[in-house]
Amino acid sequence: MTEKVILAGLGGQGMMLLGRLIAQAVMLDGKNVTFFPSYGTEVRGGTAHYHLIVSEEEIFSPVIEEADTLIMMNLPSYLKFKNFLKPNSLLFLNSSMIDKIYNEMCIDIFRIPATKIANDLGNVVASNMVMLGAYNAVKNLVSVPTFLSCLKNVLKGKKAPFFEVNKLAIERGAEFIKNSNLVNSHQLH
């Protein structure tokens, strides 16, 4: 089993945190993992992107050439990374910020209104966790209790009150997928 994920979004949409926490959780589950962030000359309003590889075998290059999954939070990110898709990739889109796109590769697309769901929960910043809930409902890569304990480690002290809303966001993301019909064919290959 090897899963190559590219996560991208507007700076501030929390893709760095999301990717790091997934990496941490799968590491604690005993899998190999590499997490390669974009760094340096990023500009305000630009896309921040991250390459995450999870495998039971040795991981060679941490740079992804063909992704199994794209998690895209806004349109510029999608346009930048759509060429990394292959015929059996899965595409998770934040449909609150990515309107209509043409499905060139005829792949399975999961459109999750993550910004809206997070906003309805009272914290727009939690849209990354909605995406995690959705992604995990399809791929079942991360054990949620491990993930939550990693999240608890990050949201300590002053940030502790934000834990509940993040947990809710994960649950809402998962519910959204379960209420749509696409899920069964994709339970963990």
Partner: protein, 363 residues
């Protein structure tokens, strides 16, 4: 951050390098910011006060390397880090450290050059690292990790090697290794008192004074000192060579690559199996001393050797010297932030193997 022994942590290569230095007993770190190695400086700024050490963000790279000189002369474990343009600025200081036989660790998280270049991964500082870099007949021991775990392990070993030989040790990484996160376990035992330092400047109360210098103006003295240095370098060459050997026994072709490139080449071995091409790898871990012997031995039984680097061809010169014409040596490289893809390397191999077969038939 807590670093209990055997605890698995998810860290960048930069953070792992910094933490390993602290665990090895380094208590004096001097750095000046430059991407892609800033996490070393920021990690040290957080951690050094917690362990009673000193981290100074200095005014320039020159200040950093010369403060290392001072701390090393006083007998402390000390480190500085930078990326390519910054390491160029430190070269005078490194020559003085080698000339004064002072142990220290210098981390170079390489980026693209020449000049200010860019901030992408590169291996174009090989010549500078292994052929001296500064003036005079000297060597630094150069260690090249290829994962975050190995970065931690080699930084730890670097302090021991430095103390053992009274010599600067360089860790030659690159932007990808520095920025990438991987699981890492700090499982080495700290033993900073392994090497006594009777030569250190600790105050001459009750003993004869020690002198640390690299200046020998009296005729003949400098030549004598150089002979001593060379004797030490021969000993290091004899005892400290490290490399990883994969699948070389029955290989048709062997790739020589280090660091990030070696990681990518390991993927080729698997792809080669499917295509019925036996591909082996020699991954130098010490770039100086260079693993000449193993490369010479392997060159006697393979069709060809391919060197893969993120440079225009630097280590390939040492590979050619080791092979001395026993088999063809090919090169594939990318520069300026380009990272060779497994596909490109495989194409190069498929180019080489048929050519070699024709030559075999003709002779």
């Amino acid at each position: 951050m807590s670093t209990e022994k055997n605890q698995k942590l998810l860290l960048t290569g930069n953070e792992a390098a910094a933490e390993a230095a602290i665990m090895a007993g380094c208590r004096f770190y001097y750095g000046y910011p430059i991407t892609p190695q800033n996490e070393i400086l920021t990690h040290m700024a957080t951690r050094m006060p917690q362990v009673g050490g000193t981290c100074i963000q200095v005014e320039s790279e020159l200040a950093a390397i010369n403060m290392v000189h001072g701390s090393a002369a006083a007998g402390a474990r000390t480190m500085t880090s930078s990326s390519s343009p910054g390491i160029s600025l430190k070269q005078e200081g490194i020559s003085y450290l080698a000339g004064s036989e002072l142990p220290c660790v210098i981390v170079n998280v390489q980026r693209g050059g020449p000049g200010l270049g860019d901030i992408s991964p590169s291996q174009a500082d090989y010549f500078q690292a292994v052929k001296g870099g500064g003036h005079g007949d000297y060597h630094t021991i150069v260690l090249a990790p290829s994962s975050v775990q190995e970065t931690a392990d080699l930084v730890f070993d670097a302090f021991d090697l430095a103390d053992c030989y009274r010599n600067p040790v360089m860790i030659l990484g690159d932007a990808q290794l520095g920025q990438m996160m991987e699981p890492v376990v700090f499982n080495k035992k700290q033993n900073p008192n392994l090497y006594k330092k009777p030569w250190a400047l600790t105050g001459a109360n009750g003993r004869r004074k020690n002198v640390i210098k690299s200046f020998y103006p009296v005729k003949g003295e400098l030549e004598e000192f150089n002979a001593k240095l060379q004797k030490k370098y021969r000993q290091i060459e004899a005892e400290e060579v490290r490399y990883e050997e994969i699948n070389t026994k029955k290989a048709d072709i062997v790739i020589v690559a280090y660091g990030t490139c070696a990681r990518i080449c390991k993927e080729i071995v698997k792809i080669g199996e499917k295509l019925n091409i036996k591909i082996g790898i020699i991954r130098p871990i010490t770039l100086w001393p260079f693993p000449c012997d193993i490369i010479r031995r392997v060159s006697e039984r393979v069709q060809a050797i391919l060197t893969v680097e993120m440079s225009a061809g630097q280590m390939v010169e040492d590979v050619r010297l080791s092979v001395s014409g026993r088999c063809p040596v090919h090169f594939y490289g990318r520069t300026g932030g380009g990272i060779p893809s497994p596909k490109e390397i495989l194409e190069k191999i498929l180019e080489i193997i048929p050519i070699k077969e024709k030559v075999t038939c003709a002779t």
